[in-house]
């Protein structure tokens, strides 16, 4: 799941200064699940902004609407009529959702309310951990299901650097060394030979904006 967290109120106020009628669009996808951009957070933020601007004697009106997911156009279509009277849009989706919203309503200034932080897991309520860098070439088969790209500070592919201390990363003693964990797990599974071979230089996949078309759908999108 994509994890995001709300920008601080001060930054959002600075962004929205000068717009008096704003629609805050929530997202029922990942950001709702990670307690960052669901309906509840939309209402919370709107209340914060309304009170805060009122205290500054700034005329400001903000309404809310939450869609299923902002990363899909047909869900955004529900907003077509609704957005009309607004000066600006505030999006509580991830960075991808914000851009799709902005794309659907190009004449409306669209602002992000969240910082999208990583692809991660839900460790517990309100506690998330990064697990994936969406690098496009998964190495988890080699590394026993622990990602060195996401979880080693240097993204090393051929074993740990010289620095781990008591099982922790030298960069942050609160973080476990990914390679020690990889070594441990592979050893337990009897698969250490995985990391005794040299992992060759990777072909990074992030040169241009990623696009993916599934083969069965290729026909559908081929230019006639």
């Amino acid at each position: 799941m994509i994890i995001a967290t709300k920008k601080q109120l001060e930054e959002l106020k600075e962004m929205l200064r000068g717009y008096s009628k704003v629609l805050n669009v929530g997202c029922g996808g990942c950001t709702a699940v990670c307690l960052a951009g669901g309906q509840r957070e939309v209402e919370d933020l709107n209340t914060q902004l309304a009170i805060s601007f009122k205290a500054d004697h700034v005329t400001f009106e903000i309404d809310s609407f939450t869609v299923e997911r902002q990363c899909e156009m047909h869900f955004l279509s529900a907003l077509d009529e609704i957005v009309k009277p607004y000066d600006a849009l505030l999006s509580m989706a991830c960075g991808a959702g914000v851009q799709f919203l902005a794309e659907r309503y190009p004449d409306k200034p669209t602002f992000p309310a969240l910082n999208t932080v990583f692809v991660g897991v839900n460790r517990d309520i309100g506690w998330y951990e990064e697990r994936c860098k969406s690098c496009g070439e998964c190495v988890l088969a080699m590394t026993g299901g622990i990602c060195p790209i996401a979880m080693c500070a240097k993204g090393l592919l051929n074993g740990p650097c010289g620095g781990p201390q008591d099982g922790h990363c030298e960069v942050n003693s609160e973080v476990s060394c990914a390679w020690i964990k990889i070594h441990e797990r592979l050893k337990a599974q009897g698969r250490l030979e995985n990391i005794l071979k040299i992992c060759p230089v990777r072909e990074w996949q992030d040169q241009v904006q990623g696009t993916l078309v599934l083969e069965p759908y290729r026909e559908r999108y081929s230019r006639k």
Binding site: T5, L9, T47, Q48, I51, I125
Partner: protein, 220 residues
């Protein structure tokens, strides 16, 4: 009938109620488990800005049940409070306790109990009207819901009538005892079991909305 209601049936109801509640609590303990935490978050804690912190109280209040549904929240709160307080502190019940077991239990003035009872009855009326008239409540209502409203209201209505002796006392008090016994028996095994569920789950099971995280989670 009076003797039956006051004797064996009362015992039976009390027994079923107690055993039932204990059973439900044990069941809830069995269906949940202690949250095993092997790791704790050590970094990456998002810090709210001072202004956000200042507004936190207002926002949580505004988005709590009281902020969102003030009428329903207050009615539900007062209703449930009176539902408990009226029978526990009724003079008649304390008297009965002293006569049977010689235990003295303090009670509230009858006029106050009277008021509590009226509040309960008004609360039931409110819930009844709500259930009958508001479409979204009707959408999740079945015949049972009305039955349970009746079961909840019956002891209070009969008790009120018996106390004021507007109808034949002996009949009313028998009905009152029967109604009370019915309610006690119904609590652990019907919709009224939300009494146990509420205290246990909101208090012990961790969730986004748990009031007091008790460190338990639902077992898979």
């Amino acid at each position: 009938m009076y003797a039956l209601a006051r004797g064996p049936l009362l015992w039976l109801a009390a027994l079923v109620f107690t055993v039932g509640i204990v059973y439900r609590v044990i069941e809830l303990f069995m269906l949940t488990q202690k949250r095993e935490r092997v790791a704790w978050p050590t970094h990456g804690i998002r810090v709210d800005s001072p202004e956000e912190r200042k507004l936190r109280m207002i926002i949580s209040l505004r988005h709590s049940l009281i902020g969102q549904h003030p009428v329903m929240a207050i009615v539900a709160g007062v209703f449930h409070f009176c539902l408990f307080a009226a029978p526990i502190f009724a003079k008649g019940h304390a008297l009965l306790l002293r006569q049977s077991w010689g235990i003295s239990f303090w009670s509230l003035p009858s006029s106050l109990i009277d008021t509590l009872t009226i509040v309960v009855l008004l609360g039931v009326l409110f819930l009844l009207v709500r259930r009958a008239l508001i479409p979204r409540v009707r959408a999740v209502s079945s015949f049972n819901d009305f039955v349970f409203l009746f079961i909840a209201a019956a002891p209070y209505l009969t008790g009120f009538l018996a106390y004021h002796q507007w109808l034949p006392y002996k009949t009313m008090i028998t009905l009152h005892m029967l109604a009370g016994e019915l309610m006690l028996i119904a609590i652990p095994f019907t919709k009224l079991s939300h009494m146990v569920f509420f205290f246990f789950v909101r208090g012990f099971v961790e969730s986004e909305h748990s009031v007091a995280p008790g460190g338990r989670v639902w077992s898979p």
